[in-house]
């Protein structure tokens, strides 16, 4: 597939992958590996979570929601920060691929944000007696979902890609302020949501097998996000670069096969 594409000028630097033309084939090669890693880790994490980790002494079996709830919540915050990072890089260095990356990340971040809210609601009902409360943690997480949806709506609504990139980057950067607010909300305010079970400066307040299962699921979410984002970014790159010779060559190679 690559053979009949014209060879771009070679550079040894890792930054050559900042060129969409170079990143497109790399993304295509890497994505299946990350998808495979995600599947293996998710299977291992659920095995640990359901069959190795003990029943919670206080909550009983319902605590097993934690294995997706925490992974999804962490991922939803992290992805937004990565989007803000790429937006910043895009605005400062004026690199097209940076903006495209943040747009490729948004739907997956939004998906994890919804999963965190949904699993939180199903966990809250039996443990707190309510699907939803307007406490600081839940409210700021809901705001994160709206920031994701706002970013996606705005970047898709503006027709001129350059203006869409800039507008999206501004939402991503301004909205990033909300991420530390979500993270520290359980410390700063008296929330119904419990404090962090895992932090860098104290021993985790849970059984080792529970913690391991949770971390493995978090790694699975990472690998999944990378795989899906790489696949999505390939479509976005083709769209954006459709007037170039290398996309014409790629379309020649794909004609009749897709």
């Amino acid at each position: 597939m690559m053979k009949d594409m014209q060879k771009p000028e070679r550079s040894k630097s890792i930054f050559r992958f900042a060129a969409p033309q170079m990143f497109y084939p790399l993304a295509g090669k890497l994505a299946p590996w990350f998808a495979g890693i995600a599947a293996v880790l998710a299977a291992a994490g659920m095995w640990l979570g359901f069959f190795v980790a003990p029943t919670d002494a206080v909550q009983g079996e319902v605590y097993r929601v934690i294995y997706i709830h925490v992974a999804a919540a962490w991922m939803s915050m992290f992805v937004y920060l990565v989007m803000a990072f790429w937006s910043f890089v895009g605005l400062v260095m004026n690199t097209r691929l940076s903006f495209i990356m943040s747009q490729a990340l948004a739907p997956t971040g939004a998906m994890f944000c919804f999963v965190a809210l949904w699993t939180g609601a199903l966990w809250g009902k039996p443990t707190w007696g309510a699907y939803w409360v307007w406490d600081a943690r839940l409210t700021s997480q809901l705001l994160l979902l709206f920031l994701y949806l706002g970013f996606m709506a705005l970047t898709r609504a503006i027709e001129d890609p350059r203006r869409a990139d800039k507008a999206g980057a501004i939402i991503a950067l301004v909205g990033a302020v909300n991420v530390p607010i979500i993270y520290f909300s359980v410390k700063w305010w008296n929330t119904l949501h419990q404090g962090a079970s895992v932090s860098l400066n104290k021993a985790p307040s849970m059984a080792t097998t529970m913690l391991t299962g949770m971390l493995v699921m978090a790694l699975a979410a990472w690998a999944y996000t990378i795989a899906v984002t790489l696949w999505r970014v390939r479509s976005l790159i083709l769209e954006r670069e459709r007037h170039t010779d290398w996309v014409a060559a790629e379309l020649n190679a794909l004609e009749g096969k897709i």
Binding site: F50, F51, V52, A53, P54, T55, G60, E61, V62, R64, V65, I68, H69, A72, P107, T108, M111, F114, V115, W118, T119, L122, W123, K125, P126, Y224, V228, W231, R232, R234, S235, L238, E239, R242, V247, A248, L251, L254, E255, I258
Partner: protein
């Protein structure tokens, strides 16, 4: 092993709707997202191929070209 039987496993200590409701919806969303990504790839490539054919058709293809660009 934490479970006495498979039915005990599926029952989740009486919390089945909450636990399986969480895992089930997450699984649906993940599978759904993967399907959307595959469709997007196919749609993008097909649309760009159509666009190119339309513009190659020249003046006659002009209107078709505009429609696709819309």
């Amino acid at each position: 092993m934490q479970w006495e039987s498979w039915s005990a496993f599926w029952d989740m200590g009486g919390f089945a709707p909450f636990v399986w409701g969480s895992y089930g919806v997450t699984l649906l969303l993940v599978v759904g997202e993967l399907i959307l990504v595959v469709h997007r790839r196919r749609d993008t490539v097909r649309r760009l191929l159509r666009l190119r054919r339309a513009s190659a058709a020249g003046a006659g293809g002009r209107r078709a070209f505009e429609e696709i660009v819309e």
